[in-house]
């Protein structure tokens, strides 16, 4: 039984962007779209999050931040690049400080196009990410089971 798909908690990071996609992500939480219907919670803590939503491209200043947030998230986790800047750098791609899309730094699972991405397409992207999240959960559970078989049981393993 998969509860992961019923309770995806999201962390949202805004890179180099015009803030347009950023505002559209927050619009998803408003009464009109209300993503909490699907159990989505907007958390500020990477350790609690399942889905990383990134808007805007990656630059020399924030590449470490993006890498840190991604690494602090607990497995299974997915990354959704929202908007054309996060996908490829968009109109900022040629800037001297912009490195390009988010996938230059961390593995991206779902790309949501648009400038700015509409709330409907962001929700669609998150729903697509849920299927990938579920696949990763199954793979993680299989890996865990294998590791448990290889390791002797002791009290310290319990905590």
């Amino acid at each position: 039984m998969s509860f992961l798909k019923k309770s995806p908690w999201i962390i949202h990071y805004d890179g180099t962007s015009c803030n347009g996609c950023d505002i559209e992500v927050l619009a998803c939480l408003t009464p009109l779209y209300d993503v909490e219907r699907f159990g989505v919670v907007n958390t500020g803590n990477p350790k609690h999050a399942d889905i990383l939503l990134i808007t805007g491209s990656v630059n020399e200043q924030n590449k470490d931040v993006v890498w840190q947030i991604f690494n602090q998230m607990a497995n299974p986790k997915v990354v959704v690049a929202v908007g054309i800047c996060a996908t490829s750098g968009g109109i900022f791609a040629e800037c001297y400080n912009v490195m390009g899309g988010v996938d230059k730094i961390i593995p991206v699972d779902v790309y949501v196009p648009g400038c700015a991405a509409r709330p409907e397409s962001i929700i669609d992207g998150v729903v697509k990410a849920l299927d990938i999240l579920e696949e990763k959960r199954v793979a993680l559970a299989r890996r865990r089971r294998k590791a448990r078989k290889a390791r002797p049981v002791s009290l310290t393993n319990l905590f």
Binding site: F3, D34, R37, K47, H48, D50, P76, A141
Partner: protein, 288 residues
Amino acid sequence: MTGSTLSVLLYIFVGPIVGGLISGLDRKITARMQGRYGPPLLQPFYDVFKLLSKESIAVNGIQNFFIFCFLIFVVFTGSLFFMGGDILLVIFALTLASIFMVLGAYCANSPYSSIGAMRELLQMMAYEPMVLLTAIGFYVVTKSFNITEIMGFNVPLVLYLPGIFLGFAYILTMKLRKSPFDLSMSHHAHQEVVKGITTEFSGSTLAMIEIAHWYENLFLMGFIFLFFVWKMPGSWLVGLGACIIMYFIEIVLDNASARVKWQLAFSSAWIVAAALGFTNLLILFLMK
């Protein structure tokens, strides 16, 4: 099997189900108050089962053990309460449980969880005098600290202890972690320092914290219940009604207010304890 054993077993096994449903209803009502549709009623259970399937990251191995102790002592406190035991023991066990949570947050050594832990300690200092005054109030009226005997009093205790009841209702907001006194951990993401005291907990450890809160909320409502129940057989209905009304007021308050600064939370809690709780006791002594 005696009545007290049965109620403890009911608390341990049915408690989390009821607590989770209350939490789900809370989120649903909160969403409706904000003009949203809201998550399904069973959402808290989905969340907890999801957390159990997630990887648990611990900065310091012992932090998960502390949270495990927190859960165990919350269950122990609630069991003492529903067994009809000594109310002082209930209060001390509850304090110990909270201390375990603070220790867990401190030993992670992260600035955010340390801030959360400090705020939790501040809250404990703020509400503890009023909780003790509540127990003393029960004793002064009923001449007993025993919960079974407190429940068997001739009239509802709220008639003798209106000030203490209001004072307890005031600090209940802190214990339930609702605005305006959700200093150490808030359910609303945008007024939080990362995630307060729970910042460094993930996976099954976070699930334990959630479950402990379900248990905790249940016996906190039990305290409200004590104020409204008396010897009459059907009076538990009055108590239940009072609990429901009280919880609804808490939800309204949670949605209508923002978080206050710790100074105000701290000083107002002590002022309320002195003005309402202590005065109530004084009048009781003078009436004798």
